[in-house]
Symmetry: C2
Subunit: 300 residues, 2 copies
């Protein structure tokens, strides 16, 4: 049976899917662009060799860091606002042993903070989310992708008009693991009361309580003065940073924000958003990326 | 001639001064509380042994982390608002081979961010600054102590009424050395244009431009999109964080802020404050700590 291969090739791993008649029939994983032990081409060839034993794929479609400067080929970022056709047209095209390979473009925009911003991989999930849900094709919507570098995208009439990257996840890991804010290693950051204390500071918008750099140090002072544990401090910092990320974007009560990402992390964002009166809608990240990759199939 | 010994014993080093008739006649350095290879008592005994060869000191006065839980003895924090007499009364008293030793208390307060906050060592510089300058003994003044953990203190009628610690210096070092924001090691963070770009974002108070977590990521995007160098990103991050620290405290134009600390770092703070129309007054940190330590001398 004829088949295609699609894949999400990020910094930490490559996830490949074998698609027959629109369905995933097999999966395989290999090294991410940041962890390659061979060229991207050789890595891909090795990963899909078992599938090629019963015939060549019709085509291969890849998204993510594979299109970055350190990837297989550098595919320029498509500019926002971007609709699906304009974005898909920017894909880079090469071949693997004669099989056509499309490498999807990332997106670049001027972020709400006023500076340049970029994504590679998340745009495929976002266009997939739009393809899966007709509601997203009219009006204005926001979708957040929590993670090491969280992205918040604004969708208008089915186009991605802008996005903002937040350094929240990496910053939390640095503060938890490398800073003096925790006086000993934390075993958990899941203390609900600590999280709420963090939300309370982080979600404050402007005014006198708006002291992020000041509030960070409170994780340490609370251990010295109030006998708080490192676990409390970790939960507080997680809540503070997530709350602050949300406050910086100031979503409005009544809005429904879509969430794509690790379910436990999305759950934490959903609690912070609920504390501001905002509903959330958890989207299936795998289904979104597959739908986005399918947008490049010519025979769909 | 009779003499006293005073010392500032912080985390990274011990600085000892031999005082005769109110003047520093000798100095010596030894290991900080965070770098001890022996007990605090033995470390001090070794450091001052040469001075004791011609007679015992009348007294020893120490400030800083020597009074912390990991120091020589734990001296409880004095509470703010604190005047010099109340603070001095909280000193811990022990002896070294019969010589009386006073270990000055740190201060605790409820910070402007609403949480608990503490200092150990900076209070001695602040009370020293107040002792040196009659202007600080009436009205309201602010003194900033830039450093790994910057402190901003509010002085009213010669009392320290509150302070706020900012995690700025440690955060900058983490972002420069340990994060993915710089795509290669920076050689310098002294690019004036990069600093100004950071100030421009950091000094923005609230409103739509108030995106610290968002603006952090711009250090990376600017390298990817605008061809900026790691040195530019380091200068931008330094300016952004210092600007943000200042914006969180919102000093008002016309105010004069005292600065105590490393002169190059204080100069950077002075530039950021000048960009908000605020004058600064660089205080001599060594003179301030010596004046503060002298406040414990009974025969002054």
């Amino acid at each position: 049976m004829s088949y295609r291969i699609v894949g999400d090739w990020g910094t930490s791993r490559l996830r490949l899917f074998r698609i027959e008649a629109g369905h995933v029939v097999a999966r395989v994983e290999a090294a991410g662009i940041g962890a390659l032990e061979d060229t991207p081409e050789a890595t891909l060839r090795t990963a899909i060799a078992p599938w090629r034993a019963d015939g060549e794929p019709q085509a291969i479609t890849l998204c993510g860091m594979v299109g970055s400067r350190n990837g297989w080929i550098e595919v320029p970022y498509a500019a926002c606002p971007a609709d699906v056709a304009g974005w898909a047209a920017e894909a880079g095209r090469i071949a693997l042993d004669g099989v056509p390979v499309a490498i999807l473009a990332g997106l670049a925009c001027t972020a709400p903070s006023g500076g340049p911003d970029v994504m590679r991989g998340e745009e495929t999930q976002l266009f997939g989310a739009i393809a899966r849900d007709p509601v997203l094709r009219t009006g204005r919507h926001r979708i957040a992708l929590p993670g090491t570098h969280s992205k918040w995208a604004t969708i208008e009439d089915g186009r991605i008009v802008a996005f903002q990257t937040f350094f929240t996840g990496e910053l939390f890991a640095l503060l938890r693991d490398r800073s003096t804010l925790l006086r000993a290693a934390a075993r958990s950051d899941a203390d609900p009361a600590a999280e709420q204390a963090g939300f309370a500071h982080g979600l404050t918008r402007a005014g006198d309580g708006d002291l992020l750099l000041g509030a960070l140090f409170e994780a340490r002072s609370a251990q010295l003065i109030e006998g708080r544990s490192p676990d409390w401090a970790a939960g507080y910092l997680s809540g503070l940073l997530i709350g602050r990320e949300i406050a910086e974007l100031a979503p409005t009560a009544g809005e429904t924000v879509g969430l794509i990402g690790d379910p436990a992390l999305c759950d934490r964002y959903a609690r912070a958003l609920a504390a501001r009166g905002i509903d959330t809608n958890l989207l299936d990240g795998d289904a979104c990326v597959l739908a986005g990759l399918a947008l490049m199939e010519t025979d769909r």
